[in-house]
């Protein structure tokens, strides 16, 4: 089974600061890390490889320093990795990003057909959760999003069964391969990498492809290929107000009901 995992380098948003004037992320304030969801995607791919044989290839788009997340993925057990990096990609929104990644995956598939693609549920900086599904749509394969468990895989009929996390429960679905899976963090616990992987990663030199290496329509890349318009970026307003209601259960309920009905006008619509 040849599995491709999409891995993004992101600023560690748990420590990143927001520039109070421009309201943009001050990227220099945070170290760059592998998107946490993507690390779990790599882990899951490596586990499947161990069980069913095959190979795990990483693909990432970003500046040259993003080779660090490919090395990190090798530590986690991936076999190879490609970074696509070119000025032409700069400023890409999710549409352009998924296009560039799709073209890279197509090129990877030329050498060795791809059976399964993994992506994170979302990137912790952009947070759109669109790139995975975008790639699936472009490749015309099914997408299984927000997967928190791979239930089984049948080699005989080439079908994977997974559990999707929904807002109010779970959904178990099956798909024929090839398909694309986006993962939740709960899908697995990261393994503490063996020393051999660490040494392999220390030696590993990721392949870097530019627009000369993959077939692309330049008008679909970077700012040109990005219809997204950023209207405004702002920090969510701090919640204010609120009051604490104390008393016995009965008293508290009475006060709350009174507020809902008489102060906020619940059921007060005319004719009700």
């Amino acid at each position: 089974m040849h599995i491709v995992v999409c891995v993004k380098q992101v600023p560690d948003t748990s420590v990143v600061k927001l520039d109070p004037v421009t309201n943009t992320l001050d990227r220099s304030s945070a170290p760059s890390i592998i998107n946490p969801y993507d690390a779990h995607a790599v882990e899951e791919a490596v586990r499947l490889k161990k069980k069913y044989g095959g190979k795990v290839t990483i693909v990432s788009m970003g500046p040259p320093m993003a080779t660090a997340v490919i090395k990190k993925s090798i530590e986690l057990g991936a076999d190879e990795g490609v970074l696509i990096s070119d000025r032409a990609f700069a400023g890409s929104d999710t549409l352009a990003t998924s296009y560039a990644l799709t073209q890279a995956i197509n090129k990877i598939a030329e050498k060795e057909p791809v059976d399964l693609i993994f992506a994170g549920k979302q990137a912790i900086d952009g947070d759109t959760a669109q790139v995975g599904p975008g790639i699936a749509r472009r490749m015309n394969i099914p997408v299984l999003a927000q997967v928190d468990k791979v239930e089984s895989y049948s080699q005989d009929n080439n079908v994977i069964r997974v559990r999707r996390k929904l807002e109010d429960g779970h959904e178990i679905v099956e798909s024929k391969l090839p398909c694309l899976i986006t993962v939740e963090k709960e899908i697995n616990e990261l393994t503490y990498s063996p020393l051999t992987n660490m040494i392999k990663a220390a030696r590993y030199e990721p392949v870097i492809w530019t627009t000369n290496d993959i077939e692309v329509d330049r008008s679909q890349l970077g700012l040109k290929g990005s219809p997204t318009v950023v209207g405004k970026i702002f920090a969510p307003p701090k919640q204010s107000g609120g009051e604490k209601i104390e008393g016995t259960a009965q008293e508290v309920v009475d006060i709350v009901m009174d507020k809902l009905i008489n102060v906020h006008g619940l059921f007060a619509k005319e004719g009700v």
Partner: protein
């Protein structure tokens, strides 16, 4: 099967990376194992980096090393509660290449220095703790790490794992460090705009100053305070023998806070924004604390070998010099394919002949003497301040009378006792 290397280096601080640079350049198969997220992640230094040893390893470091400011002025303060006796030296030729020394941030410098070794072909594995040396028939043949499949092997293991070298301890090279052999240093990096720094320290852009402070900075205990200028920040810290901290029941961060509040210091850092708080041990035992340095298949370098010259706040340069000498010895051992203690002992001999061994020998009794004789820090420094105050206060008293008064102050302490102390000081410093 676990992989075998020519040399495994434990720790990617200045000592380890110096060794790795030299070994990789000579074409040896070398791997550095570092427990930090990256080299320097948790490493601490004031920190003044000296040019000479670095240049020997990376001749064109000036073009690319992450340096803060070249130092043009070194000041010394003998601090009392409300006064400081000051002296110093400023040399503007140090503002020009090749410079003399520089302030650096270790988190940046160590990363760069290790990267240079990687460019030469060394391997670097981070986030991995070496838990023990693998010993077979009395020879060190590799190391065990905390990772699954975590053993690797090598002809030689270089221990560059810093002041509290657990591995040197495991091998029985040294005992548990005594509290009188290490100083605990705490420091803070305080952000301050470059222009403010240049105004307050009388500097041009891209010039730096250092202030070493004795006396009230450590409340009379053996130790020093320091104030160093970076590009847009000031590093300020205090370091005191652990035994003194314990004896006087002082908390290190309180000492630093008091130092920052001292009237001589406050104005220098006023308005700054604290950015980082760091603490680390410094080996202060000097010559007498140097452990066994070599064994079959193993050499100890840098802080792990307690190679710090506390009197001149030199450590990183001794670390690099020792790393380089150990690497050169390893290259020679590889040529003759003999990794026995006998052959590796070349490292010890070369180290002791070099400035490292010579300087440590010169001051071999200094720290011990000062620890045993607290009067240097808690009596003479105030005395010096009182004497200077007396001399420089213009109040109609003749200079003759002032001299008499000062001699009187010394006599209060006892002429004879003072003479003995001066002689003792001279003896350990000569």
């Amino acid at each position: 099967m676990a992989e075998k290397f020519d040399v495994i280096i434990v720790g990617a601080g200045p000592a380890g990376s110096a060794a790795a640079n030299v070994l990789a350049k000579a074409g040896l198969k070398v791997i550095m194992i570092e427990r930090g997220e990256y080299p320097g992640a948790k490493n601490v230094m004031g920190g003044v980096l000296y040019r000479h040893q670095l240049q020997e390893i990376i001749p064109d470091f000036l073009d690319e090393a992450p340096l803060q400011r070249p130092i043009v002025e070194q000041r010394f303060w003998m601090l009392d509660e409300n006064s400081a006796f000051q002296f110093g030296h400023k040399d503007l030729s140090w503002a020009k290449p090749p410079h003399n020394n520089f302030t650096v941030f270790r988190a940046q410098f160590d990363q760069w220095f290790a990267k240079k070794a990687v460019e030469q072909g060394a391997l670097l594995v981070n986030e991995t703790v070496v838990t023990e040396a693998i010993v077979e028939d009395g020879r060190v043949i590799g190391v065990r790490t905390d990772r699954p499949d975590g053993d690797i092997y090598a002809d030689i293991v270089i221990l560059a794992d810093g002041v509290n070298s657990l591995l040197a301890k495991q091998l029985g090279f040294h005992k548990e460090l005594k509290t009188s052999e290490v100083a605990l240093a705490t420091m803070q990096v305080i952000n301050l705009p470059a222009e403010k720094i240049e105004d307050r320290f009388n500097l041009e852009p891209n010039q730096g100053a250092t202030i070493e402070v004795f006396g009230d900075s450590t409340k009379g205990m053996v130790g020093t305070g320091f104030i160093y200028t970076n590009k847009d920040s000031i590093s300020i810290g205090t370091g005191t023998l652990l035994s003194d901290l314990v004896k006087n029941n002082v908390r290190p961060h309180e000492l630093l806070e008091t130092f920052k509040q001292h009237p001589m210091v406050r104005k220098l850092i006023e308005g700054g924004e604290p950015k980082e708080y760091l603490a680390h041990l410094i080996p202060e035992g000097g010559y007498h604390s140097i452990p066994k340095l070599v064994g079959h298949g193993v050499m100890v370098v840098g802080d792990a070998a307690q190679l710090v010259n506390g009197i001149h706040r030199e450590g990183s340069n001794l670390a690099m010099a020792s790393g380089k000498l150990a690497a050169e010895t390893a290259i020679m051992a590889k040529e003759v394919n003999d990794f026995s203690e006998n052959v590796l002992d070349t490292y010890r001999i070369k180290l002791m002949e070099s400035f490292v061994g010579q300087d440590l020998k010169k001051y071999k009794d200094a720290t011990h003497m000062m620890a045993k004789q607290p009067q240097y820090f808690n009596e003479y420094l105030p005395l010096l301040n009182r004497a200077a105050s007396e001399m420089f206060t213009v109040d109609g008293t003749s200079k003759w009378d002032k001299q008499k008064k000062i001699i009187g102050m010394v006599q209060e302490r006892g002429m004879f006792k003072t003479a003995i102390d001066l002689y003792r000081m001279w003896k350990v410093m000569k």
